[in-house]
């Protein structure tokens, strides 16, 4: 069966459980990543992230000397740590780990102090400084002011960034939330769906039958900066 269909099945099964029994996780097979950055673009389109905010990036590295060279790609969404350093430093309890193990930000509570940006060892948090891509262009681009559906505090929340108005999420810390607004409606995260190399896998780590749980049990599984003890829910297959 196609992995997409497998993951869709996993997702449907997980959503039938109570929220606190789910543990969302992601596995990225770096051997399959072709460095096309489609995940980054899909994320940008899905979450309508402004300039200087990119929930997902693909880090590129060149190895070797000509003619024996190769390139390596490391996609980096949020690690959704089980012990997130960003959460404990927040002075106003604006960011927290949900029972389904996704770390989210309450945009209406966040004061924009950026302490969490400094605390994240993976650089997965961004500051929305109010910039627009089409700033200063004659027409502007309506899509930049369109409604987004990020689950920041409550399911069903919607957000609109409007030029010249400093209201959330402008002025907030922002981060990847595993596309919870999609996931809770039975759709896989945008970066997973779009991945050309089928390098990304998403599902419920608490379900031993799920694809991600089976992948996590394989050889060659690793997490970034394991030594910091953050226990990420985003895994890499090397």
């Amino acid at each position: 069966m196609d992995v997409m269909a497998v993951m869709d099945g996993d997702l449907a099964r997980a959503l039938r459980k109570p929220m606190e029994e789910r543990a969302w996780g992601m596995v990225i097979d770096v051997r399959r990543c072709i460095g096309c950055h489609a995940c980054t673009v899909a994320c940008k389109a899905e979450n309508k992230t402004p300039p200087n905010v990119s929930y997902n990036v693909v880090i590129e590295e060149e190895l070797g000397t000509y003619p024996n060279v190769s390139r390596r790609f490391l996609p980096r969404p949020c690690m959704q740590c089980a012990k997130p350093p960003c959460v404990s430093v927040c002075p106003v309890n604006a960011t927290y780990r949900r029972p389904d193990s996704v770390v989210v930000i309450d945009y209406e509570q966040c004061i924009g102090c950026r302490y969490c940006l400094n605390a994240c060892p993976y650089g997965a948090r961004y500051f929305d400084s109010g910039d627009f891509y089409t700033e200063g262009t004659p027409r502007g681009a309506p899509h930049e002011e369109a409604v987004t559906h990020e689950v920041a505090a409550q399911p069903g929340d919607t957000w609109r960034r409007v030029v010249g108005r400093e209201s959330s999420p402008v002025g907030n810390a922002r981060k990847c939330h595993y596309c919870l607004h999609r996931v809770e409606n039975g759709a896989l995260p945008a970066c997973v769906v779009t991945c050309l190399g089928r390098a990304r896998f998403f599902g419920d780590l608490a379900d031993p039958e799920s694809l991600v749980a089976r992948l996590v049990a394989k050889d060659g599984i690793a997490r970034l900066k394991e030594e910091l003890g953050t226990e990420p829910h985003t895994y890499y297959l090397l």
Partner: protein, 427 residues
């Protein structure tokens, strides 16, 4: 008002009005025109925040030498120290307030604090410290306020209001007030140690950034706060108030204290630098290479090492008898400490968290190459200008050096009070 205070006022207005454009930009356009952001989240304003909070803690702790530990030598600059600490605290908090993404949510640190966060602790400690400073200042001067009400004029009327019904008193009442000050100061000392050590901890708890993640940070913050705050107090005493040599002794003593503190600070710096430069850990080494040889090398060599630490240490030793030189060198050190603070914050970003991360998506504010935007500098100018104006206004309004009668500075109040207190304790 003294001529030098007029000069300070003129400077304050110049900086303040010059910076107005930055403040208008900040309030009108938010953070759009700033260069900090996702790549370098904390930058120039955080530098000035820790700079001023250090000056405040330092000045306050020196005032506590008088009111808590009974060091009579600095008695006549005690009020000045408390007032300087207050102005510096307000300036520091203005910087961090302007730095917030949502300024008008700042109150949530009080209403909904997360006490696992050092930042929440900071805000609570600052609030307590602010009240202590107000209380100390008032109890130190309220009898003078009441007495000076009789002088009339704008000043007399304002002070009359601020006296809140206090009666001018002699002996007994003043001694009682000083006992209150002593209690407040005694609470204030651990508070100041906690909040300034805490600012160091605020950085030091971040395991994500090896440069900050060192147990020496809170201690270094304290020592360097004392040194910078002491230098500020020395510079102010000499340059603004010591016109006729009546404060020569205080300036000399303060100069010696600053020299000692600078010496300890230099030792700390050396320890930190030597350990970090040891080649085994690139993550620790890179931030030091960045500050020594990066684009802002001069903040390390000229401002930090030259103007704040080594220069004044040597100067204060050689010219330890000359109040004029002590004042000037202290001012140089105070300016130089901006470089020390810069190099506390910005080298923290010398390492990419993951190699290649900041190049993975090319946008200006994702880059680690930071230089302050014009707007950021203008806001700094505006805030420093406002601080100067408020300082001069306070120096004009409040009897910071004791009650003035004609040209003679009368400080019988504080001496009488303290002496009274001392006698009581002996009994």
């Amino acid at each position: 008002m003294r001529r030098r205070l007029w000069i300070a006022l003129a400077l304050g207005l110049l900086f303040g009005l010059g910076g107005l454009a930055g403040l208008i930009d900040r309030f009108g356009n938010g953070h759009i025109n700033a260069n900090y952001g996702s790549g370098v989240p904390w930058a120039l304003w955080v530098v000035f925040y820790i700079y001023f909070i250090g000056l405040s803690a330092g000045a306050f702790l020196i005032s506590s030498l008088v009111y808590v530990f009974g060091v009579r030598r600095f008695e006549r600059v005690g009020r000045l120290a408390v007032f300087t600490a207050l102005i510096c605290l307000i300036t520091a908090l203005s910087f961090i307030w302007l730095d917030l993404g949502h300024m008008f949510r700042a109150y949530r640190t009080i209403l909904n604090p997360n006490f696992r966060s050092p930042m929440a602790w900071m805000i609570w400690l600052y609030s307590g410290y602010f009240l202590i400073l107000l209380g100390e200042g008032w109890f130190l001067m309220r009898r003078d306020f009441a007495a000076m009400r009789a002088q009339g004029g704008v000043r007399g009327r304002l002070l009359g209001v601020l006296a809140f019904g206090t009666r001018p008193d002699t002996g007994q009442g003043q001694a009682r007030d000083l006992r209150v000050v002593r209690v407040l100061g005694t609470i204030g000392v651990p508070l100041a140690v906690a909040f300034h050590g805490g600012v160091g901890a605020l950085f030091a708890v971040l395991a994500s950034r090896p440069y900050w993640n060192t147990g020496l940070f809170p201690v270094m913050f304290l020592i360097s706060a004392l040194a910078s705050g002491g230098a500020l107090l020395t510079a102010i005493t000499q340059l603004l108030f010591n016109r006729d040599g009546s404060f020569d002794d205080e300036v000399r003593s303060l100069g010696r204290l600053v020299l000692l503190l600078l010496f300890v600070d230099v030792i700390m710096e050396i320890a930190e630098i030597l350990i970090s430069l040891y080649p085994s850990s690139p993550a620790h080494r890179a931030p030091f290479e960045e500050q020594m040889f990066g684009p802002y090398w001069w903040t390390f060599w000229i401002l930090g090492l030259g103007m704040a630490l080594v220069g004044p240490s040597i100067g204060l030793f050689v010219a330890r008898r000359s109040p004029r030189w002590i004042g000037l060198l202290s001012l140089v050190a105070v300016i130089g400490f901006v470089g020390v603070r810069w190099n506390i914050v910005l080298p923290g970003y010398a390492n990419e968290l993951i190699p290649g991360l900041n190049m993975a998506y090319a946008e200006t504010k994702l880059s680690l190459a930071y230089s302050p935007a014009n707007m950021e500098w203008l806001v700094v100018s505006g805030a420093i200008g406002a601080a100067l104006v408020f300082f001069v206004a306070g120096a004009w309004l409040f009897p910071l050096l004791g009650r003035e009668q004609g040209k003679k500075v009368e400080d019988t109040l504080s001496t009488a009070g303290l002496a009274d207190l001392a006698v009581k304790e002996v009994e």
